[in-house]
Symmetry: C2
Protein backbone atom coordinates (compact mmCIF):
# COMPACT_ATOMS: atom_id res chain seq x y z
CA UNK A 1 0.00 0.00 0.00
CA UNK A 2 1.37 3.33 -0.98
CA UNK A 3 1.93 5.36 2.15
CA UNK A 4 3.16 8.48 0.40
CA UNK A 5 1.01 11.41 1.27
CA UNK A 6 -0.54 12.70 -1.91
CA UNK A 7 -1.03 16.46 -1.94
CA UNK A 8 -4.78 16.08 -2.18
CA UNK A 9 -4.77 13.84 0.90
CA UNK A 10 -2.56 16.11 2.99
CA UNK A 11 -4.06 17.72 6.06
CA UNK A 12 -5.60 21.05 5.10
CA UNK A 13 -4.08 24.17 6.61
CA UNK A 14 -6.75 25.25 9.12
CA UNK A 15 -5.75 28.89 8.70
CA UNK A 16 -6.69 29.00 5.06
CA UNK A 17 -8.88 26.10 4.05
CA UNK A 18 -11.47 25.95 6.82
CA UNK A 19 -14.20 28.52 6.99
CA UNK A 20 -16.19 29.66 10.00
CA UNK A 21 -19.93 30.20 9.62
CA UNK A 22 -19.21 33.77 8.51
CA UNK A 23 -17.41 32.44 5.44
CA UNK A 24 -14.07 33.77 6.68
CA UNK A 25 -11.19 31.89 8.30
CA UNK A 26 -11.66 30.69 11.89
CA UNK A 27 -9.88 32.53 14.72
CA UNK A 28 -7.46 30.02 16.18
CA UNK A 29 -4.89 31.88 18.26
CA UNK A 30 -3.88 35.40 19.26
CA UNK A 31 -0.69 35.00 17.24
CA UNK A 32 -2.64 34.01 14.12
CA UNK A 33 -5.07 36.92 14.51
CA UNK A 34 -2.51 39.61 15.36
CA UNK A 35 0.60 38.55 13.46
CA UNK A 36 -0.75 36.29 10.73
CA UNK A 37 -1.51 36.81 7.06
CA UNK A 38 -5.06 35.46 7.04
CA UNK A 39 -8.22 37.55 7.26
CA UNK A 40 -10.13 36.15 10.27
CA UNK A 41 -12.50 38.98 11.25
CA UNK A 42 -14.38 39.03 14.55
CA UNK A 43 -18.07 39.87 14.29
CA UNK A 44 -19.88 40.94 17.46
CA UNK A 45 -22.96 39.24 18.96
CA UNK A 46 -25.10 41.05 16.36
CA UNK A 47 -22.88 39.70 13.60
CA UNK A 48 -21.34 43.11 12.89
CA UNK A 49 -17.85 44.59 12.61
CA UNK A 50 -17.16 48.34 12.99
CA UNK A 51 -15.83 50.16 9.95
CA UNK A 52 -14.24 53.61 9.74
CA UNK A 53 -14.20 55.21 6.31
CA UNK A 54 -11.79 57.99 5.34
CA UNK A 55 -11.38 60.09 2.20
CA UNK A 56 -8.33 58.88 0.24
CA UNK A 57 -7.36 62.41 -0.81
CA UNK A 58 -7.97 64.47 2.34
CA UNK A 59 -7.64 61.78 5.02
CA UNK A 60 -10.82 63.12 6.61
CA UNK A 61 -12.95 60.62 8.53
CA UNK A 62 -16.21 60.47 6.59
CA UNK A 63 -18.28 58.02 8.61
CA UNK A 64 -18.27 55.19 11.09
CA UNK A 65 -20.46 52.32 9.94
CA UNK A 66 -20.97 48.62 10.48
CA UNK A 67 -20.68 45.58 8.22
CA UNK A 68 -22.05 42.08 8.52
CA UNK A 69 -20.11 39.23 6.92
CA UNK A 70 -21.94 39.66 3.62
CA UNK A 71 -21.23 43.41 3.48
CA UNK A 72 -17.53 42.78 4.15
CA UNK A 73 -17.42 40.04 1.51
CA UNK A 74 -19.23 42.24 -1.04
CA UNK A 75 -16.88 45.15 -0.30
CA UNK A 76 -13.82 42.97 -0.84
CA UNK A 77 -15.18 41.36 -4.01
CA UNK A 78 -16.65 44.44 -5.73
CA UNK A 79 -14.28 47.16 -4.53
CA UNK A 80 -17.29 49.30 -3.54
CA UNK A 81 -18.28 49.98 0.07
CA UNK A 82 -21.17 47.93 1.43
CA UNK A 83 -22.47 48.30 4.98
CA UNK A 84 -25.17 46.86 7.19
CA UNK A 85 -27.83 49.45 7.93
CA UNK A 86 -28.72 49.02 11.61
CA UNK A 87 -31.81 51.25 11.32
CA UNK A 88 -33.17 49.65 8.15
CA UNK A 89 -31.79 46.20 9.03
CA UNK A 90 -30.62 45.52 5.51
CA UNK A 91 -27.48 45.23 3.40
CA UNK A 92 -26.66 48.70 2.16
CA UNK A 93 -24.63 49.46 -0.96
CA UNK A 94 -23.41 52.96 -0.14
CA UNK A 95 -24.57 55.38 -2.84
CA UNK A 96 -27.36 53.15 -4.18
CA UNK A 97 -29.84 56.01 -3.66
CA UNK A 98 -27.62 59.10 -3.66
CA UNK A 99 -25.19 58.00 -6.36
CA UNK A 100 -22.34 58.80 -3.94
CA UNK A 101 -20.64 55.44 -4.34
CA UNK A 102 -17.47 54.84 -2.32
CA UNK A 103 -14.74 53.21 -4.40
CA UNK A 104 -12.28 51.34 -2.19
CA UNK A 105 -8.68 52.43 -2.64
CA UNK A 106 -7.45 50.45 0.34
CA UNK A 107 -9.01 48.17 2.95
CA UNK A 108 -7.22 47.51 6.22
CA UNK A 109 -7.93 45.31 9.22
CA UNK A 110 -6.80 46.07 12.77
CA UNK A 111 -4.65 44.09 15.20
CA UNK A 112 -7.37 41.92 16.74
CA UNK A 113 -9.36 41.98 13.49
CA UNK A 114 -12.54 43.46 14.97
CA UNK A 115 -12.42 46.73 12.99
CA UNK A 116 -12.06 47.68 9.32
CA UNK A 117 -10.58 50.86 7.82
CA UNK A 118 -11.74 51.79 4.32
CA UNK A 119 -9.89 54.47 2.33
CA UNK A 120 -12.25 55.56 -0.43
CA UNK A 121 -12.73 57.89 -3.38
CA UNK A 122 -16.16 59.38 -4.04
CA UNK A 123 -17.32 61.05 -7.24
CA UNK A 124 -19.32 64.29 -7.52
CA UNK A 125 -19.84 66.19 -4.27
CA UNK A 126 -17.63 63.65 -2.43
CA UNK A 127 -20.17 63.62 0.39
CA UNK A 128 -20.94 60.68 2.67
CA UNK A 129 -23.39 62.08 5.22
CA UNK A 130 -27.17 61.70 4.92
CA UNK A 131 -27.63 65.14 6.53
CA UNK A 132 -25.93 66.67 3.49
CA UNK A 133 -22.43 67.33 4.78
CA UNK A 134 -19.23 65.91 3.30
CA UNK A 135 -18.30 64.10 6.53
CA UNK A 136 -20.68 62.81 9.18
CA UNK A 137 -18.29 64.42 11.69
CA UNK A 138 -19.23 68.04 10.90
CA UNK A 139 -19.25 69.28 14.51
CA UNK A 140 -16.48 69.53 17.03
CA UNK A 141 -16.76 69.43 20.81
CA UNK A 142 -14.77 72.04 22.79
CA UNK A 143 -12.32 70.29 25.12
CA UNK A 144 -10.22 71.16 28.15
CA UNK A 145 -9.64 74.89 28.62
CA UNK A 146 -11.65 75.78 25.51
CA UNK A 147 -14.83 74.76 27.35
CA UNK A 148 -14.56 77.94 29.41
CA UNK A 149 -15.88 79.72 26.34
CA UNK A 150 -18.97 77.49 26.32
CA UNK A 151 -19.58 73.84 25.54
CA UNK A 152 -21.77 74.29 22.45
CA UNK A 153 -20.86 72.17 19.41
CA UNK A 154 -19.02 74.10 16.71
CA UNK A 155 -19.69 73.39 13.02
CA UNK A 156 -16.60 72.47 10.98
CA UNK A 157 -18.37 72.59 7.60
CA UNK A 158 -19.89 75.93 6.61
CA UNK A 159 -22.64 74.52 4.42
CA UNK A 160 -24.19 71.31 3.15
CA UNK A 161 -22.92 69.85 -0.11
CA UNK A 162 -26.35 68.61 -1.17
CA UNK A 163 -30.01 68.89 -0.24
CA UNK A 164 -31.04 65.66 1.56
CA UNK A 165 -34.72 66.16 0.67
CA UNK A 166 -33.85 66.32 -3.02
CA UNK A 167 -31.63 63.23 -2.82
CA UNK A 168 -33.54 60.99 -0.42
CA UNK A 169 -37.10 62.30 -0.81
CA UNK A 170 -39.39 60.87 1.84
CA UNK A 171 -37.14 57.97 2.84
CA UNK A 172 -37.11 57.51 6.64
CA UNK A 173 -34.27 59.25 8.48
CA UNK A 174 -31.80 56.59 9.71
CA UNK A 175 -31.01 58.37 13.00
CA UNK A 176 -32.32 56.50 16.05
CA UNK A 177 -32.93 58.46 19.24
CA UNK B 1 -50.57 88.08 42.33
CA UNK B 2 -47.64 88.81 40.13
CA UNK B 3 -47.96 86.72 37.00
CA UNK B 4 -44.72 87.89 35.45
CA UNK B 5 -42.41 85.00 34.78
CA UNK B 6 -39.25 85.50 36.72
CA UNK B 7 -36.15 84.22 35.00
CA UNK B 8 -35.53 81.68 37.76
CA UNK B 9 -39.05 80.36 37.37
CA UNK B 10 -38.92 80.10 33.59
CA UNK B 11 -39.07 76.63 32.09
CA UNK B 12 -35.54 75.29 31.78
CA UNK B 13 -34.29 74.62 28.26
CA UNK B 14 -34.37 70.81 28.13
CA UNK B 15 -31.54 70.78 25.59
CA UNK B 16 -29.05 72.31 27.96
CA UNK B 17 -30.16 72.10 31.55
CA UNK B 18 -31.44 68.56 31.94
CA UNK B 19 -29.06 65.66 32.06
CA UNK B 20 -29.72 62.05 31.14
CA UNK B 21 -28.34 59.31 33.39
CA UNK B 22 -25.10 59.42 31.38
CA UNK B 23 -24.52 62.98 32.55
CA UNK B 24 -24.97 64.34 29.03
CA UNK B 25 -27.96 66.11 27.51
CA UNK B 26 -31.04 63.99 26.72
CA UNK B 27 -31.80 63.09 23.10
CA UNK B 28 -35.08 64.78 22.30
CA UNK B 29 -35.51 64.93 18.54
CA UNK B 30 -33.70 64.05 15.32
CA UNK B 31 -33.34 67.74 14.55
CA UNK B 32 -31.73 68.42 17.93
CA UNK B 33 -29.32 65.50 17.56
CA UNK B 34 -28.35 66.11 13.91
CA UNK B 35 -28.55 69.88 13.54
CA UNK B 36 -28.24 71.17 17.10
CA UNK B 37 -25.37 72.60 19.10
CA UNK B 38 -25.69 70.36 22.16
CA UNK B 39 -23.66 67.24 22.84
CA UNK B 40 -26.21 64.45 23.34
CA UNK B 41 -24.26 61.24 22.68
CA UNK B 42 -25.93 57.87 22.19
CA UNK B 43 -24.42 55.00 24.15
CA UNK B 44 -25.26 51.46 23.09
CA UNK B 45 -26.87 48.79 25.29
CA UNK B 46 -23.46 48.17 26.87
CA UNK B 47 -23.17 51.86 27.67
CA UNK B 48 -20.46 52.41 25.03
CA UNK B 49 -19.86 54.74 22.08
CA UNK B 50 -17.44 53.91 19.24
CA UNK B 51 -14.39 56.15 18.86
CA UNK B 52 -12.00 56.42 15.91
CA UNK B 53 -8.62 57.98 16.65
CA UNK B 54 -6.39 59.52 13.99
CA UNK B 55 -2.92 61.05 14.07
CA UNK B 56 -3.20 64.85 13.84
CA UNK B 57 -0.09 65.14 11.67
CA UNK B 58 -0.40 62.21 9.26
CA UNK B 59 -4.18 61.69 9.30
CA UNK B 60 -3.56 57.96 9.72
CA UNK B 61 -6.23 55.97 11.57
CA UNK B 62 -4.46 54.73 14.70
CA UNK B 63 -7.17 52.72 16.45
CA UNK B 64 -10.87 52.13 16.86
CA UNK B 65 -11.86 52.02 20.51
CA UNK B 66 -14.88 52.44 22.76
CA UNK B 67 -15.78 54.91 25.49
CA UNK B 68 -18.32 54.75 28.26
CA UNK B 69 -19.83 58.02 29.53
CA UNK B 70 -17.06 58.47 32.09
CA UNK B 71 -14.30 57.96 29.50
CA UNK B 72 -15.92 60.52 27.19
CA UNK B 73 -16.32 62.98 30.05
CA UNK B 74 -12.70 62.47 31.20
CA UNK B 75 -11.46 62.91 27.62
CA UNK B 76 -13.35 66.19 27.24
CA UNK B 77 -12.29 67.51 30.63
CA UNK B 78 -8.62 66.50 30.62
CA UNK B 79 -7.79 66.76 26.91
CA UNK B 80 -6.23 63.28 27.05
CA UNK B 81 -7.80 60.19 25.47
CA UNK B 82 -9.63 57.84 27.82
CA UNK B 83 -11.33 54.65 26.64
CA UNK B 84 -13.28 51.77 28.10
CA UNK B 85 -11.30 48.55 27.88
CA UNK B 86 -13.77 45.84 26.85
CA UNK B 87 -11.31 43.04 27.63
CA UNK B 88 -10.23 44.37 31.03
CA UNK B 89 -13.65 45.92 31.77
CA UNK B 90 -12.16 49.08 33.18
CA UNK B 91 -11.66 52.77 32.42
CA UNK B 92 -8.43 53.08 30.48
CA UNK B 93 -6.30 56.19 30.31
CA UNK B 94 -4.42 55.56 27.08
CA UNK B 95 -0.69 55.59 27.73
CA UNK B 96 -0.96 54.93 31.47
CA UNK B 97 1.34 51.90 31.09
CA UNK B 98 3.22 52.63 27.87
CA UNK B 99 3.62 56.38 28.34
CA UNK B 100 2.15 56.85 24.84
CA UNK B 101 -0.46 59.38 25.96
CA UNK B 102 -2.80 60.74 23.29
CA UNK B 103 -3.25 64.50 23.56
CA UNK B 104 -6.53 65.60 22.01
CA UNK B 105 -6.12 68.23 19.30
CA UNK B 106 -9.75 68.00 18.19
CA UNK B 107 -12.80 65.98 19.22
CA UNK B 108 -15.71 65.58 16.84
CA UNK B 109 -19.12 63.94 17.09
CA UNK B 110 -21.01 62.48 14.13
CA UNK B 111 -24.47 63.26 12.73
CA UNK B 112 -26.53 60.95 14.97
CA UNK B 113 -24.02 61.36 17.81
CA UNK B 114 -23.24 57.67 18.20
CA UNK B 115 -19.56 57.93 17.20
CA UNK B 116 -16.60 60.08 18.24
CA UNK B 117 -13.57 61.11 16.20
CA UNK B 118 -10.40 62.02 18.12
CA UNK B 119 -7.52 63.78 16.39
CA UNK B 120 -4.47 63.30 18.61
CA UNK B 121 -0.79 63.99 19.03
CA UNK B 122 1.43 61.38 20.65
CA UNK B 123 4.94 61.89 22.01
CA UNK B 124 7.92 59.57 21.50
CA UNK B 125 7.40 56.69 19.08
CA UNK B 126 3.91 58.03 18.26
CA UNK B 127 2.59 54.47 18.46
CA UNK B 128 -0.90 53.43 19.55
CA UNK B 129 -0.97 49.68 18.98
CA UNK B 130 -0.35 47.13 21.74
CA UNK B 131 1.31 44.80 19.20
CA UNK B 132 4.04 47.41 18.75
CA UNK B 133 3.04 49.06 15.51
CA UNK B 134 2.27 52.76 15.06
CA UNK B 135 -1.31 52.12 13.92
CA UNK B 136 -3.49 49.15 14.85
CA UNK B 137 -4.32 48.98 11.13
CA UNK B 138 -0.94 47.64 9.98
CA UNK B 139 -2.28 45.12 7.46
CA UNK B 140 -4.24 45.63 4.28
CA UNK B 141 -6.65 43.22 2.63
CA UNK B 142 -6.34 42.76 -1.16
CA UNK B 143 -9.61 43.75 -2.85
CA UNK B 144 -11.28 43.29 -6.22
CA UNK B 145 -8.92 42.28 -9.02
CA UNK B 146 -5.89 42.35 -6.71
CA UNK B 147 -7.19 39.20 -5.02
CA UNK B 148 -6.19 37.20 -8.08
CA UNK B 149 -2.64 37.50 -6.80
CA UNK B 150 -3.64 35.90 -3.48
CA UNK B 151 -5.76 36.99 -0.56
CA UNK B 152 -3.06 37.05 2.11
CA UNK B 153 -2.91 40.15 4.30
CA UNK B 154 -0.11 42.55 3.35
CA UNK B 155 1.82 44.43 6.04
CA UNK B 156 1.82 48.23 5.66
CA UNK B 157 4.39 48.86 8.41
CA UNK B 158 7.80 47.31 7.89
CA UNK B 159 8.68 46.96 11.55
CA UNK B 160 7.40 47.52 15.08
CA UNK B 161 8.12 50.83 16.77
CA UNK B 162 8.54 49.27 20.21
CA UNK B 163 8.88 45.89 21.89
CA UNK B 164 5.54 45.04 23.54
CA UNK B 165 7.21 42.65 26.02
CA UNK B 166 9.48 45.42 27.22
CA UNK B 167 6.59 47.90 27.55
CA UNK B 168 3.76 45.72 28.86
CA UNK B 169 5.70 42.91 30.55
CA UNK B 170 3.41 40.05 31.50
CA UNK B 171 0.14 42.02 31.29
CA UNK B 172 -2.59 39.93 29.63
CA UNK B 173 -3.03 40.45 25.89
CA UNK B 174 -6.28 42.38 25.26
CA UNK B 175 -7.19 40.48 22.07
CA UNK B 176 -10.26 38.27 22.48
CA UNK B 177 -10.68 35.34 20.11
Amino acid sequence: MNRDIHPERAEPNPQTSQRSDTGFAPRISIEQVEEGHVLAPKFDRDGLIACVTTDMQTGEVLMLGYMNAEALRMTIETGEAHYWSRSRRTLWRKGATSGLIQRIEELRIDDDQDAVWLRVSIAGTKASCHVGYRSCFYRRVPIGQARKDGDALIYTEAEKTFDPKQVYGDAPNPTIL
